[in-house]
């Protein structure tokens, strides 16, 4: 899970750096829930017990 958390920290950082525009195609305001959604989905996808 640490890798997924780490990856999402980096993606969140990237979204803050790259999306600092007034009219974004990817709104910074929605970044939190969007990144939480993809992070959680990946945790579920990778979470199946071996």
């Amino acid at each position: 899970m640490q890798k997924i958390v780490g990856m999402m920290i980096l993606i969140a950082g990237a979204s803050q750096f790259a999306m600092a525009t007034a009219v974004p195609e990817i709104g910074v305001g929605s970044a939190g829930s969007a990144i939480a959604l993809i992070s959680g989905a990946m945790l579920v996808i990778r979470g199946r017990r071996k």
Partner: protein, 555 residues
């Protein structure tokens, strides 16, 4: 803030005041100070002064982003690559108390920095005095950061972190500087990209409507009823860049599972698909507007469709990288797939996260289909309630009971919430939203009932199962159900509380504190019911506060 909740006694535990709790405390201290300062400082005031101060005002926000980005990237990779070394440093720092003299020095430096900021930002001093004050202002700021850092951990141990992680600091610095410069100057690529997007949207639009109104000079495109300007910022560059970052990091982190060089094809494929989906997004936006739903087109759809596309491509990327035998080495071919009914039992992540993910997914989709009011909010309640009902048998082992402590923590979180809201003055509109006020009494009452039910029932259960029930324990062990609910690591506690706070928008700092209080409620007795009761109490009090005192901006 929190009392010592050390439950773990193994030699490798970091529940006492080791490295991670110190970093958490330092993060909270700096975040609180940054929040307080940013409430009344406006970069525009500094930019208007020109000269060096103007330069500082222009790059101030980027500098803060750079520092935050550096810390996040450095410690993420340090933890992933040098966990043993960090654990050793954590053991070394445990017997060392926080240095009160340096902490006092930090407070003094920040007081000087704040006073100088007041003078410089508020233009309370002339140009000559400002030139004298500027170096003092900068020095006080730097001293404040350094003294604060050294108060929580000695200089030698900071040096050891840098030493033990090799050249990570240099790579991180390069990445952050590159990101700042690229972010600042990326506009160069926007114009050619927007022309290609313009052509794509025009082609797609011609499949659905006739009589397209197009002006390639002004980049206006649409129909006689509804047209948009394809701004350079909306040219697809952002989404393509984001999926590029996602793909590179994914392939690096999970390189052991990928067949190289084949897996590299996923990166250009993801970028191209994301770019095409942006053209489809703009086409959809025009078609929605042309159909008469201009508020939806310019409101929710415009802001949400990009993230929906990113999530779809990112999920497709990870699915392909993990499931396509041509791309992965994980050997899924020929393995027996578990029957759907066993999925939850085999996957605790699904059990604890699906209710929360259903709220997020439905919330994103309904926001995209909404204008300036969330009429479809009841669907979030129904989605979470459905997920909880579907998984109800899996929650048999969950301790739902609670006593007085959980509600007390919830009441405290509520007090912090409204106090922080008053401090930040985030109040925009206090009146009931126009759309809701204009609805029939039956519809208005039904919407409010669903909103309250979601706030008091489904949201607390879903969020506490996800953050306190799953994530905190997942930082201890992959087998979360075998991990006692009173165990925790400071790293897990800190990151889950920060993530919880970030999800609460402008009131992110109040969200972090609330997350810590809910975690305290859980950890005191090891009952998730306490955390849920705390969260439900906060939300119930907020609902009453909104409805009784007309504080609608808090919803």
């Amino acid at each position: 803030m929190l009392p010592q909740l050390a439950i773990r006694h193994s030699a490798a535990n970091d529940s006492s005041f080791g490295l991670f709790p110190r970093l958490l405390a330092l993060t909270i201290l700096f975040a609180a100070e940054l929040l307080l300062i940013s409430v009344w400082l406006d970069d525009a005031a500094l930019i208007s002064r020109g000269g060096f101060l103007g330069f500082a005002g222009h790059w101030g926000a980027w500098t803060v982003r750079g520092i935050v980005g550096f810390a996040a990237i450095f410690f993420t990779f340090a933890y992933l690559k040098s966990k043993a070394e960090l654990t050793e440093i954590s053991h070394q720092v445990k017997p060392i108390a926080v240095n009160p003299s340096l902490l006092a020095g930090h407070a003094g430096a920040m007081a000087i920095f704040t006073s100088a900021s007041w003078a410089l930002y508020g233009i309370h001093v002339g140009a000559s005095a400002a030139s004298l004050l500027t170096p003092i202002w900068l020095l006080a700021g730097v001293c404040g950061i350094v003294l604060g850092a050294f108060a929580f951990m000695p200089r030698l141990l900071w040096a050891r972190i840098i030493h033990d992680t090799g050249h990570l600091w240099a790579y991180t610095l390069l990445a952050v500087v590159f990101a700042c410069v690229a972010g600042g100057y990326s506009q160069v690529f926007w114009l050619p990209s927007s022309r290609l997007t313009y052509a794509l949207v025009k082609s797609l639009l011609s499949l659905f409507v006739s009589g397209i109104v197009a002006n390639p000079v002004t980049m206006h495109l649409g129909t006689s009823k509804f047209a948009v300007e394809i701004a350079p910022e909306c040219s697809g560059y952002e989404g393509a860049g984001l999926i590029l970052a996602f793909g590179v990091v994914w392939l690096w982190f999970f390189r052991d599972e990928c067949r190289f060089p084949r897996a590299l094809i996923l990166i250009p494929a993801g970028v191209v698909i994301m770019y095409l989906l942006n053209a489809a997004r703009i086409t959809g936006l025009i078609l929605i507007g042309d159909a008469g739903a201009t508020r939806i087109a310019l409101g929710g759809f415009h802001s949400q469709a990009g993230w929906i596309a990113f999530n779809a491509v990112a999920l497709g990327f990870s699915f392909a990288a993990r499931r396509l035998p041509w791309l992965t080495t994980t050997g899924h071919v020929g393995t027996t797939v578990a029957p759907p009914s066993k999925e939850s039992a085999d996957n605790p992540a699904a059990t604890y996260l699906l209710p929360f993910l259903s709220i997020l997914a439905v919330g994103t989709l309904t926001a995209a289909a909404s204008g300036d009011f969330q009429w479809l909010y009841p669907l979030r309640f129904l989605a979470a309630a459905g997920a909880l009902w579907f998984l109800r048998k899996r929650y048999a082992a969950v301790d739902w009971s609670f006593g007085w402590f959980g509600p007390a923590m919830g009441a405290l979180a509520f007090a912090i919430w409204i106090g922080m809201d008053a401090l930040l003055n985030t109040r925009v509109h206090d009146a009931m939203p126009v759309a809701l006020a204009g609805a029939t009494p039956a519809i208005r009452t039904a919407w409010i009932v669903f909103r309250v039910l979601a706030a008091v029932l489904t949201v607390p259960i879903a969020e506490e199962l996800a953050f306190r029930g799953f994530l905190i324990r997942r930082f201890i062990s992959a087998d979360i159900e075998a991990s006692p609910p009173q165990r925790f690591t400071w790293l897990g506690l800190g990151l889950t509380s920060i993530a919880f706070g970030i999800l609460h928008g402008n009131l992110w700092f109040a969200g972090i504190l609330a997350g810590l209080l809910y975690a305290w409620a859980l950890l005191r007795r090891g009952r998730i019911g306490e955390a849920i009761a705390a969260h439900a109490t906060t939300n119930a009090l907020l609902a009453a506060y909104v409805l009784l005192f007309h504080k609608w901006h808090l919803w």
